[in-house]
């Protein structure tokens, strides 16, 4: 029997992975969760049939969303992660000794439960003493925070469904208020290639620009995400991701990575011309 998982990357483009086994399927209060196993990508899970992570390529996303801001400000101690119930982002954060507190705000408890069961390679670090998990809407959680965090990482789904509130003007405004004066906001910023994703990218960029003096984007190659090419947003109240970055300082930490390195840190902010144009023409 042949079993294939298929995601529509655009109304006219499909991406399929041959599946060995469908391990788990459930409908939570917010979304449908499926866990599958494949020869090519190992174990992976989807939310509302959209790819979230695979065993083989998750390192790229999680390293890039974490090490880039951590290498810009070595004094980050208090971190808020919104979304990221799989634990991959938290796993990378726990590798930094100076971090004192990590708050993970995931709306869907079932995602965390499923990942603890089936994705120990990302979720095991959720047990770290510094990690506190809150099962709540990120928009609600952040509404009452003021001048608290050194770093906020928005590790969300796409802006269709439960993640919608995490791409809004009110959310970015609340993030601005919740960050301290050296605060950095990093968010998964969708793909510039297919229109449905690039529309979200443009509106998110325009909204961030309205609040943060520094809003730059950086890129990574993620094979299982639409178009395989993904962007992250780096927004801050003052720290510049290249000028305030000290390669030697980060290399001295001796953190072993598979994707991120200090040369790539500078390079990943150099975007293709069509993406620069897209950003110049951003509107809400």
């Amino acid at each position: 029997m042949e079993l294939w998982y298929t995601e529509e990357h655009s109304p006219n483009v499909r991406f399929s992975i041959k599946v060995n086994k469908h391990i788990y399927s459930a409908q939570s209060e917010y979304q449908r969760i499926d866990v599958m196993e494949a020869e090519e990508f190992g174990r992976f899970f989807t939310l509302d049939s959209l790819m979230m992570l695979t065993e083989k390529d998750e390192f790229i996303y999680h390293e890039m969303i974490t090490h880039v801001p951590m290498a810009v400000n070595p004094n980050i101690k208090n971190v808020l992660v919104i979304g990221g119930g799989d634990g991959g982002t938290v796993r990378e954060l726990t590798r930094y000794k100076q971090i004192e507190n990590i708050e993970l705000v995931e709306i869907d408890k079932l995602v965390v439960d499923v990942c603890k069961e089936y994705f120990k390679f990302t979720a095991s670090c959720l047990k770290d003493k510094r990690v506190n998990i809150y099962y709540e809407d990120g928009l609600k959680y952040i509404r009452n925070k003021n001048n608290e965090y050194d770093l906020i990482i928005v590790d969300s789904t796409d802006p269709f469904g439960p993640g919608e509130g995490l791409f809004t003007k009110e959310f970015y405004g609340c993030c601005y208020r919740a960050l301290n004066e050296n605060g950095i906001l990093v968010n998964q910023h969708e793909s510039p290639y297919y229109k449905i994703y690039s529309d979200s990218l443009q509106s998110a960029h325009a909204r961030l620009k309205a609040f943060f003096p520094i809003t730059m984007l950086y890129q990574a190659h993620i094979p299982t995400y639409p178009s395989g090419y993904w962007l992250f947003g780096f927004s801050s109240k003052g720290l510049n991701p290249i000028k305030d970055f000290d390669a030697k300082r980060w290399n001295n930490l001796l953190i072993e990575t598979k994707y991120y390195n200090t040369n790539l840190h500078v390079g990943c902010f150099q975007l293709p011309t069509y993406v620069n144009k897209l950003l110049e023409n951003s509107y809400e």
Partner: protein
């Protein structure tokens, strides 16, 4: 408990049967089940177009129901605890007008609060009844009109014992309820009918923790906007009757002005929403009450805003409060309600029901999800952070007591002249001026134009309220009753 089987949906069932026959249509509507205009059918969907059919034997006739519409009316009457229910397709406006025209002829008096919807005063223009206004109490802090107190209704009855009916809002747009049971008792003792505008009160019939409904309070007629909070399509509504009102006579009154081509899309939406509320209403409205209570609590935590609720109850002009209404006072962050309304729409992509000078109102209903509520609350937090300013300079308005010179009908049809609104002080208005929504007239035909009213209109315009009512679309000119006709009065 219901007497009839509320799972039934006679109009829906008849439409489904009819569709499956695939009968060849040589009748109206001319789009012939969607085949005439491909663009329109793609936009609305074939299901929708194929249900847009004409009255015919198997589908009954709204003007004279004898089969499936009759059965659907009986089910609705049972669901609402009424003697009879009429399916209305010309909006709750036509239901309100049918109530007034059933109770009053030309020259008859009708007691009503001044903060009625324009549809009620329009009915007076059409039928020539004479309004006796009861001053609704005013909450000075919030600047909103309240309900009628028993004392004021008693006084109106004493002064106008010949009045034929009393019209009551249950609730007002903001959620304020009058002592309906008490008013019904008073009215019936004095041989008057009680007509209830329940445009914003459909949900009262389906959850006991909400204020009392018109039918439960023993009122004679009620106009119920099923489409506002009950989930049916826009423009569909119920007119309920009770007690000694003759259903045949009411039908005649309705048929004076209602279309003879009643839309089956609207009729089936009423039928299906009635079933949904009858079977699931308790749970649905429990969820809504919970969401609204939660929103009030969170908004009040933000500081500056005041989302008001049951604490307004004073057993007089606020007898009860509809907690599903999310009304928020904004003056203390230095912004008018209409300004917050505009910012929410333009900057945060959130559309709310209306904003006036001091408040805005968000409608929470069957379709709402907790995540959308979080967006509203967080946006309000941001608006306060980014836009709040000193309260000074904001117009502190109070309810303006109208000075009536002649009946709405007489003023509307009298000899009139069009003059610049700024020069109209002291004249008698021949038309309406209102902000829409909420559609409560600032000025109604037959009322004196005063300085206070002109100041209010100027301020509302400046703050960006959407004004309507006058013949002049720009609201710069107003029709006033000519000197000659004024003197005759």
């Amino acid at each position: 408990m219901y007497k009839l089987n509320q799972k039934k949906m006679p109009i829906y069932e008849a439409l489904n049967n009819y569709k499956s026959l695939r009968r060849v249509p040589f009748d109206v509507p001319g789009h012939k089940r969607g085949r005439a205009n491909k663009e329109l059918t793609e936009f609305l969907g074939l299901n929708c177009m194929s249900a847009d059919v004409n009255s015919m034997k198997p589908l009954d006739n709204l003007c004279h129901p004898v089969s499936v519409i009759k059965e659907a009316e009986e089910l609705a009457a049972d669901a609402f605890g009424a003697k009879h229910a009429f399916f209305m397709v010309n909006g709750t406006t036509s239901a309100v007008q049918s109530m007034v025209m059933t109770a009053c002829k030309r020259g008859d008096k009708i007691i009503m609060p001044r903060n009625v919807h324009r549809s009620a005063i329009n009915a007076l223009v059409v039928c020539g009844a004479v309004p006796v206004y009861v001053n609704p109490g005013v909450n000075k802090e919030l600047g909103i009109p309240l309900g009628m107190s028993v004392k004021n209704v008693k006084q109106a009855i004493l002064e106008h014992p010949e009045a034929k009916a009393i019209l009551v809002n249950n609730p007002t747009y903001y959620g304020v309820c009058s002592p309906l049971k008490e008013i019904v008792k008073l009215a019936h003792k004095n041989g008057m009918l009680v007509l209830v505008d329940e445009a914003h009160g459909t949900h009262f019939y389906f959850n006991d923790s909400l204020p009392i409904s018109a039918m439960a309070a023993g009122a004679d007629m009620a106009a119920v906007s099923m489409h506002k909070t009950g989930g049916s399509l826009t423009q569909s509504s119920f007119l309920l009757i009770n007690n000694e009102i003759s259903s045949g006579y009411v039908r005649q009154i309705i048929n004076l002005t209602q279309t003879t081509s009643g839309s089956y899309l609207l009729l089936s939406s009423l039928d299906m929403s009635r079933k949904n509320l009858a079977l699931n209403g308790v749970d649905i409205f429990n969820t809504i009450i919970e969401l609204a209570d939660y929103s009030r609590k969170e908004i009040n935590k933000l500081g500056g805003y005041y989302a008001f609720g049951k604490e307004l109850i004073n057993n007089d002009s606020v007898y009860d409060f509809d907690t599903t209404k999310l009304s928020v006072h904004t003056m203390n962050i230095g912004l008018a309600g209409i300004e917050v309304y505009d910012i929410l729409r333009d900057d945060y992509n959130i559309q709310i029901e209306f904003g006036d000078i001091g408040n805005f109102l968000a409608i929470i209903s069957v379709g709402d999800k907790a995540l959308a509520i979080e967006r509203l609350i967080s946006s309000l937090a941001e608006i306060k952070r980014l836009y709040s300013k000193n309260k000074a300079g904001l117009f502190d308005h109070e309810y303006i007591n109208p000075l009536a010179a002649m009946t709405p009908q007489k003023a509307f049809y009298s000899e009139k002249i069009s003059i610049p609104i700024n020069n109209s002080c002291g004249k008698i208005s021949s038309e309406f001026v209102m902000c829409y929504p909420p559609g409560i007239p600032i000025l109604a035909p037959g009322e004196y134009i005063t300085k206070d009213i002109l100041n209010y209109i100027a301020y509302a315009k400046e703050k960006g309220c959407f004004m309507t009512g006058t013949e002049d679309i720009n609201i710069e000119k107003i029709n006033v009753v000519s000197e000659f006709d004024s003197r005759k009065e």
